[in-house]
């Protein structure tokens, strides 16, 4: 139980991950699917950032000195990777929303089953 509590943050991110995954699979509304995708991305970003955490460490801004104690500064690598991932996440969200707008203009609905029915009728 002790070891489970020391990793409770990972469990929370996995709950978020599954929530987003479930929304992407099961929801009928395309907009809810996109929200699910955003939750999915957020869980991955949180997971990476918490991997870069070191106990008792400061932000990775190193003052000029000769000897650097690596354990005093947080791991910069996950921060960099997630910095770019956030911006790419926003741009994929924008492209998804534009496709959604196009679907709504074409079929006047954003429910998946209604769109599929309309596509079969054509």
């Amino acid at each position: 139980m002790d070891i489970f509590i020391s990793k409770i943050n990972y469990v929370l991110y996995f709950v978020l991950f599954t929530l987003g995954f479930y929304a992407m699979m099961a929801k009928n509304n395309f907009f809810k699917k996109i929200i699910g995708m955003s939750i999915f991305q957020a869980s991955v970003i949180l997971f990476y950032v918490s991997m870069g955490y070191k106990k008792g460490a400061n932000i990775p801004i190193v003052p000029e000195s000769h000897n650097v104690d690596v354990n005093l500064f947080a791991n910069p690598l996950p921060h960099v990777l997630m910095l770019t991932a956030i911006v790419v996440g926003v741009s994929t969200l924008a492209v998804a929303l534009s496709l959604l707008q196009k679907i709504h203009k074409e079929y006047r609905t954003i429910e998946e089953d209604e769109v599929l029915n309309l596509m079969e009728e054509e």
Binding site: N9, M25, S50, Y53, V70, V80, V87, S98
Partner: protein
């Protein structure tokens, strides 16, 4: 059907939670993520580039290729957005000759926007230029700059904002941003070093090896900020209007 989805999700959750028993404890100093390459970055950032903020160094110097193509991905997303929502026929107005309008705007909003916008843009430029010494850089500064444009678009209406910011094809600055980034890399190749090896710039700028890295990172960050700010603003404009500047949207 839906019960199967729930079953799959719950099974996935239990599978993932069972994986956590193999994970290193949170905050462990000797976990694999904290051992291999990140100590090298922390130890050598100041020595090799004179940049205290290690995140900026890794972003634009050690992993410059990653950021270059990340910026291209964002530019591609912007182009894809315009292509998806573009309709050339039936459109009365083009980007550059939209009529000025006062519909849907409010005096209080407009005046507070006039007060706050210069401060926002000044802060954005500070975040871009001071990314070497404090949290910040091209991505963050570019997004703050885009937020100031979007603020203007919300309080004065999208057509007025487009008249102001996208006049004379200023949206082409998004391409200029990627071009600055790739151009700095190509300049290093011309000066007989590898692509994005900023040491090559030291003869042009007449500085030491370390400061050449620092200036190279600054140029790259400016390019990133240009692309990000224009593409984010374009995303807002196209999603808000659906690229139909007909009478109902003005």
């Amino acid at each position: 059907m839906k019960i199967y989805y729930k079953l799959v999700a719950i099974l996935l959750l239990f599978f993932l939670i069972s994986l956590t028993f193999d994970f290193p404890v949170t905050g462990d100093l000797t976990s694999p993520a904290n051992l291999n390459v990140s100590p090298y970055y922390l130890e050598n950032s100041v020595k090799q580039t004179h940049i205290p903020n290690v995140v900026t160094t890794v972003l634009a110097d050690y992993r410059g290729f990653d950021t270059l193509f990340e910026t291209s991905v964002i530019l591609t997303a912007g182009i894809a957005l315009i292509l998806i929502l573009f309709k050339s026929k039936r459109q009365k107005y083009s980007f550059s000759n939209l009529p000025r309008t006062t519909k849907g705007t409010d005096l209080v909003c407009q005046n507070s926007c006039k007060l706050a916008m210069p401060l926002m843009q000044l802060f954005a430029l500070y975040v871009i230029a001071h990314g070497h010494y404090s949290p910040g850089g091209g991505f963050q500064g570019g997004v703050i700059l885009a937020a100031s444009f979007i603020f203007y678009a919300i309080s004065f209406g999208v057509p007025n904002a487009l008249n102001r910011f996208f006049k004379n094809k200023r949206q082409m600055l998004a391409y200029l941003g990627v071009l600055i980034y790739a151009g700095v890399g190509a300049l290093c190749v011309i000066l007989k070093k590898k692509f994005l090896e900023y040491v090559a710039l030291k003869d042009i700028l007449r500085v030491s090896d370390e400061m050449a890295h620092s200036y190279g990172v600054l140029f790259v960050e400016i390019g990133v900020a240009l692309t990000i700010s224009i593409i984010m603003f374009a995303c807002y404009v196209f999603l808000a209007t659906g690229n139909s500047f007909d009478d109902e949207n003005l």
